[in-house]
């Protein structure tokens, strides 16, 4: 197990992974003629390729001889009409990809940051917010304010988020989201990794959910909000730690999961918290104890599908530290379930086999369906999940390790 853990950690640290709180894009259903699916695939060689795909439900998605070769191990996220690929080549680099008139991917603007980016969000039409951090030690984190038009940094905000030197702990970002004139930044407290102190990534004080709140657009730190009913929000490299529903409520997930990288494992249950529309603190009247409702499952990642439904990647066996980070694992431990945020019920999606978790969770919410990657050591497929019926269909086969990102772009 330790070997596997070490391996996972090695892979984890290969790159500065970008976290992205994805905006649900069910608001405007793209005209199919003008829309184009784009999938990021980690090929069998470990090389990442970004390619256009006509059909997610059948056939094969292959990076052989097609698609745009990526310079390193990248993380991909959606930014409206562009896809941002971020990774560590000669520097921490982020590159925008757009769809050309001919339906081919065009390589756009590139940005270089001094810190590795672990969380980002499209704040509005013009602005992207990204959070950079070091991986250990007491040091400022950076919130980059990025002009989406030319991928240029317009402002840096330095913040420690929540540094506790007396406890040997620092904040590691898991998500950032803008709502109205506030920015919510989720994080977890981990060891600073100082000599003789708490090791980096150890989580001795995680029985609490925490969010740092900043003003927008000025990004002035307003304060921390906390909740003791569950644990730290999000996971390492999560992409959907804070999500907004149709009525403006924010929902966060907490994993309390050893397999998701928390050790010692938090004792509070895994579940969802809410920040109601207009409020700037956790809703004291709302806690969805997912662990209890599901009969012992924990959340690894969750995608808001609309209509009060969360598509949840679950942890079925929480015994192995970091065990959920392995899309091509031989011992898959992740399942899939639909969580109803209103009724606080959980329905397991039996059509999806046990599979490996990812760094974040590749997903696309499109026309009421949620497309995800389901993979293990034998390879991967895209699955089309229907959140209303809690059913899923096996879709296109991935020629390679797994799909790291699933998107739709307009011409």
């Amino acid at each position: 197990m330790k070997k596997q853990t070490t391996f996972l950690l090695s892979v984890l640290s290969l790159t500065a992974v970008l976290l992205w709180s994805c905006e649900s894009d069910e608001t405007a259903t793209p005209d199919l003629k003008e829309a184009q699916f784009v999938v990021a695939v980690e090929a069998a060689t470990g090389t990442d390729v970004l390619l256009t795909v006509d059909d997610l439900t059948t056939g094969e998605i292959s990076p052989m001889g097609q698609g745009v070769e990526q310079p390193a191990w990248m993380t991909f996220f959606s930014g409206g009409d562009q896809i941002i690929a971020t990774g560590y080549t000669s520097d921490n680099i982020s590159t925008a990809y757009n769809l050309g008139a001919d339906g081919n991917l065009l390589t756009g603007e590139t940005l270089i940051t001094d810190q590795g980016i672990y969380a980002a969000t499209s704040a509005d039409e013009e602005v992207m917010l990204a959070v950079g951090t070091t991986r250990a030690g007491y040091e400022d984190r950076t919130i980059y304010v990025i002009d989406k038009n030319n991928m240029a940094i317009s402002k840096r905000v330095l913040t420690r988020i929540d540094e506790r030197q007396e406890e040997g702990l620092v904040a590691f970002p898991t998500g950032i989201y803008r709502r109205g004139n506030q920015v919510f930044l989720s994080y977890y407290l981990m060891g600073s990794g100082e000599e003789g102190g708490i090791p980096a990534f150890a989580t001795p004080n995680s029985n609490q959910a925490r969010i740092a709140v900043y003003s927008y657009p000025d990004l002035v730190f307003e304060g921390l909000i906390t909740d003791d009913r569950t644990s730290d929000i999000g996971v390492y490299t999560a992409v959907t730690a804070i999500q907004e529903t149709e009525n403006g409520d924010l929902y966060t997930f907490s994993t309390s999961s050893n397999a998701s990288g928390f050790f010692p494992t938090p004792t509070n249950p895994s579940g969802f918290l809410r920040i109601k529309a207009g409020a700037s603190d956790f809703d004291e009247d709302y806690f969805f104890n997912f662990e209890q409702a599901s009969g012992g499952l924990k959340i690894n990642n969750a995608i808001y599908a609309g209509n009060g439904k969360m598509v949840v990647r679950t942890i079925t066996d929480d015994s192995g530290l970091w065990a959920a980070y392995g899309p091509n694992t031989e011992t898959p431990i992740c399942g899939l379930a639909i969580a109803d945020l209103t009724t606080k019920t959980v329905t397991v999606v039996n059509d999806v086999p046990l599979h490996g978790g990812e760094w974040g969770m590749a997903h696309l919410v499109h026309e009421g369906k949620v497309y995800i990657n389901v993979s293990d050591s034998r390879g991967g497929h895209i699955y089309q999940v229907d959140p209303e019926t809690a059913t899923a269909e096996k879709g296109a086969h991935i020629d390679g390790h797994y799909a790291k990102g699933i998107f739709v772009l307009n011409k």
Binding site: V49, G65, A72, T89, E139, A200
Partner: protein, 800 residues
């Protein structure tokens, strides 16, 4: 084949000093002819009283001063003047010296036969440096190419540059002096190709002494084995071996050189030996000092830190933190040329180097944030004891062995909190918790290494021979890192690797020595006791591996007339090296689960040698290597590591064409095509070319020698080198237009050399990359443009 024959005879007339030139004697496959003037080639043969050819007899021809060696069958070719008379002085340790005056006009178009009379050898007086009959037998069948370093000593090139001219050899350097490099031979690179110094694996010198800083001065010859490797080089080489022979003659000499070049590059070497013939007492010193600022200019798209954008236009800036310095002193004392030993030496070596990083060595392209303080350094203290004796107890038995102890300290330091720009300015204390390339690191590693080799050869008469070899390599590394817990845990306890290799070989020659064959078997024992630490260093696990494997091989050669055929097969193993397993503590992460490589190697070679005033040599080697668990380096910035590829099949061919006219003009072409392909049928990449590996490359060199008078000479040489473009990642992945490519590169060097007093004093002037082409290494990091260097060398030898 190569042989080292020291000809020492009773001084004849006043010519002893001319013999100096002959010291590094290698007749085969030299690139550069010895300096002589002549019009016409004439063939002659040295025979014994039974009419059998005498190999390796030395021939001095007066008045031209031409010095030659007879080949394996006794033949040699000399240059006949149109008129006048010639004096032949022929010597061989087993024969009475022969001297004869012959009128040039009497030499018709027939073979000149020189018959020698045998003598009773007094070993004390006749100094034998030639490889014994058994050794010749053993080596003759291998696919080996020998480079004589003499011609290069005067020039300012280093060993890498010499090797780079051999077909099948490709050297990829990452930058200026002291930067890392990779030698590949027939498509196998890294540690598959072992490098030896006098048969001792070069690994033990640590990073201080490598092929690209080793001065050519001290080298007598370089043997390059393509394919099967003889058992006396008994390491677990997989694709071949390079053995550098240093001077070992029992003489007194002093050899010093100094070169100065662009980028504040200075290289000095002093190499000397004092030998007392009567007592055999010998003191030997080898030393060098190399240093360079490597501050060559590069084109950089400068980063606007505020916006995070790179400038569209590139700016030509000077590298400011890439200096390199290395030094070595190696002193040995002992006896040479005694009844109890041909050589018995005890030595002590100290070497050190210091290397600055300008950016992550495994970044692709140029980093927007250069590093201004990170560095590595190495220090090694080495003790060595070596012994050689030919004809121990009985004339048929040769023994040789060495024991080496190495105590080394390596340090990798990346702790600066400052952020530098490409002008060398910095913003202080902006990243207090990280270094410039990643996690803050101050990694100190202690290496303790025992190496030993024991070799015996026994001749079973004229046509058969047996050899046995045992080699040991035990390495223990332990270290600490005050900043990086993973390193600290990983190396808190000693990590140990031990390799034992036993070899046995049998040699036979038949059909009037035209057919030679060598059969050998090897036993490999491998033991690893290591620690594997987690990323945060909070947990660790012991890794224990013990493996044994058997290897075998056969090498055979047949000669008919001017044509020689060579074929070899070997099943060989290579166990991972410590830096492949444990990483470098900074940019290369450990992978203790690396498997041993296993390879079946096939070589078939053909050689044509036509002597004459227009001499032509053509050589074609084809090879195939079927490798399992191919160990490949995957560059990924500070998370780079070595991995196993399931199966790789390499096929290729090397072509060498050499034309020489009257020893004044020499044109040499070497070209290689190699196809290294994924041979794992289950892989989606089956049949795909291995990434980041050049597959088509070659070089052309032209040398023109102009004798000024009897004693002085001017030579002019140009070298042109081409490497075809190749993909950075697997070729069939993604759209071809989107793929990262290491572009084709063509470079030209020119060199002018002036030699005074028959080689005692020489000066050379080299312009490398004269067209100032933009050249890149395998990660598209820029290499130096045009560079100049001037070298002077003096060589003094005491006549004995």
């Amino acid at each position: 084949m190569k042989f080292l024959v020291k000809i020492t005879m009773t001084p004849i007339k006043n010519q002893s000093y001319k013999l100096l030139l002959l010291l590094p004697l290698v007749i085969c496959e030299t690139f550069l002819p010895l300096s002589t003037i002549a019009q016409n080639a004439h063939q002659a043969r040295v025979i014994d009283e039974k009419g059998i050819g005498v190999s390796f007899a030395s021939i001095l021809i007066e008045p031209s001063g031409e010095i030659l060696l007879s080949d394996e069958s006794g033949y040699f070719t000399f240059h006949k003047p149109p008129k006048g008379s010639l004096t032949f002085t022929v010597s061989h340790l087993s024969f009475i010296a022969f001297e004869k005056n012959i009128k040039a006009s009497s030499l018709e178009n027939q073979l000149l036969l020189i018959k020698l009379q045998p003598k009773n050898i007094e070993l004390d007086q006749v100094i034998i440096r030639g490889k014994s009959e058994a050794t010749q037998l053993r080596e003759a069948a291998y696919a080996i190419e020998v480079i004589e370093a003499e011609s290069f000593k005067k020039s300012s090139v280093d060993v890498n540059q010499i090797l780079g001219r051999i077909s099948g050899v490709n050297i990829r350097e990452n930058g200026g002096l002291g930067s890392s490099f990779n030698l590949s031979l027939n498509g196998l690179s890294g540690n598959r190709v072992r490098t030896f110094i006098n048969g001792v694996p070069m690994d033990y010198f640590g990073n201080s002494l490598t092929l690209n800083n080793f001065p050519a001065n001290q080298i007598e010859a370089i043997e390059v084995y393509k394919g099967a490797v003889p058992i006396h080089l008994s390491s677990d080489a997989l694709g071949g071996a390079v053995n550098i022979s240093l001077k070992q003659q029992p003489i007194t000499f002093l050899d010093a050189s100094y070169s100065v070049g662009s980028f504040n590059t200075h290289k000095a070497a002093v190499n000397g030996q004092w030998h007392h013939p009567k007592s055999g007492l010998t003191f030997r010193l080898k030393s060098f000092y190399n240093q360079s600022d490597n501050d060559y200019k590069v084109n950089v798209h400068l980063l606007d830190y505020e916006t995070g954008k790179l400038a569209e236009e590139s700016t030509n800036v000077r590298r400011f933190h890439d200096a390199y310095q290395s030094n070595m002193v190696w002193a040995e004392a002992g006896f040479q040329n005694k009844s109890f030993a041909d050589e018995l030496m005890l030595g002590f070596l100290h070497s050190a180097n210091h290397n600055e990083f300008q950016q992550s060595p495994y970044a692709t392209g140029i980093s927007a944030f250069p590093t201004g303080e990170a560095f590595s350094k190495t220090q090694s203290k080495i003790g060595n004891l070596s012994y050689r004796k030919k004809g121990l107890l009985t004339k048929r038995l040769n023994v040789a062995g060495y024991v080496v102890y190495v105590s080394g300290q390596d340090q990798m330091v990346d702790i600066s909190p400052h952020r530098y720009d490409w002008f060398g300015n910095y913003e202080p204390n902006v990243h207090p918790t990280t270094g410039e390339m990643g996690r803050k690191t101050n990694f100190q590693l202690n290496r303790e290494n025992w190496l030993g080799n024991f070799n015996t050869e026994y001749s079973l008469g004229e046509h058969h021979g047996l050899a046995f070899n045992y080699s040991l390599n035990q390495l223990s590394v332990q270290g600490e890192d005050e900043f990086q817990p993973q390193n600290n845990t990983q190396f808190s306890e000693p990590n140990e690797v031990r390799k034992d290799v036993l070899g046995l070989s049998y040699s036979v020659k038949a059909l009037h020595d035209k057919w030679k064959t060598n059969v050998f078997g090897k036993k490999y024992l491998y033991e690893l006791n290591a620690v594997e630490a987690s990323y945060d260093g909070s947990s660790s696990e012991e890794v224990r591996i013990f493996k044994q494997n058997n290897g075998l091989g056969i090498a055979s050669t047949y000669v008919f007339g001017d044509i020689q055929l060579k074929a070899s097969f070997e099943k060989a193993y290579r166990f991972p090296e410590y830096y492949e397993l444990f990483g470098d503590g900074l940019n290369v992460i450990p992978n203790q689960n690396l498997q041993a490589e296993e390879s079946q190697n096939y070589n078939l070679g053909f050689r044509l040698n036509k002597l004459g005033s227009h001499s032509i040599r053509a050589e074609l080697n084809t090879f195939m290597r079927d490798t399992k668990n191919y160990i490949r380096f995957e560059p990924r910035m500070n998370r780079s590591r070595y991995i196993n590829d399931e199966a790789v099949l390499a096929k290729g061919l090397d072509l060498t064409l050499n034309y020489a006219y009257d020893n004044t003009l020499n044109v040499n072409f070497s070209g290689t095509y190699q196809s290294l392909k994924n041979n794992d049928k289950a892989s989606a990449l089956y049949q795909d070319r291995i990434p980041n590996e050049p597959y088509l490359f070659g070089n052309l060199s032209l040398i023109y020698q102009l004798p000024l008078d009897d004693r002085n000479e001017l030579s002019f040489a140009t070298t042109h080198r081409y490497v075809h473009e190749f993909y950075f990642q697997w070729p069939s992945i993604a759209n071809q237009d989107s793929k990262a490519v290491i572009p084709s590169q063509l470079t030209h060097n020119i060199e002018l050399t002036y030699v005074r007093k028959k080689g005692r004093l020489s000066f050379s002037f080299l312009i490398a990359n004269i067209m100032d082409a933009e050249v890149f290494d395998n990660l598209n990091q820029p290499k130096p443009g045009r560079a100049y260097s001037l070298k002077s060398r003096i060589y003094l030898q005491k006549n004995q």
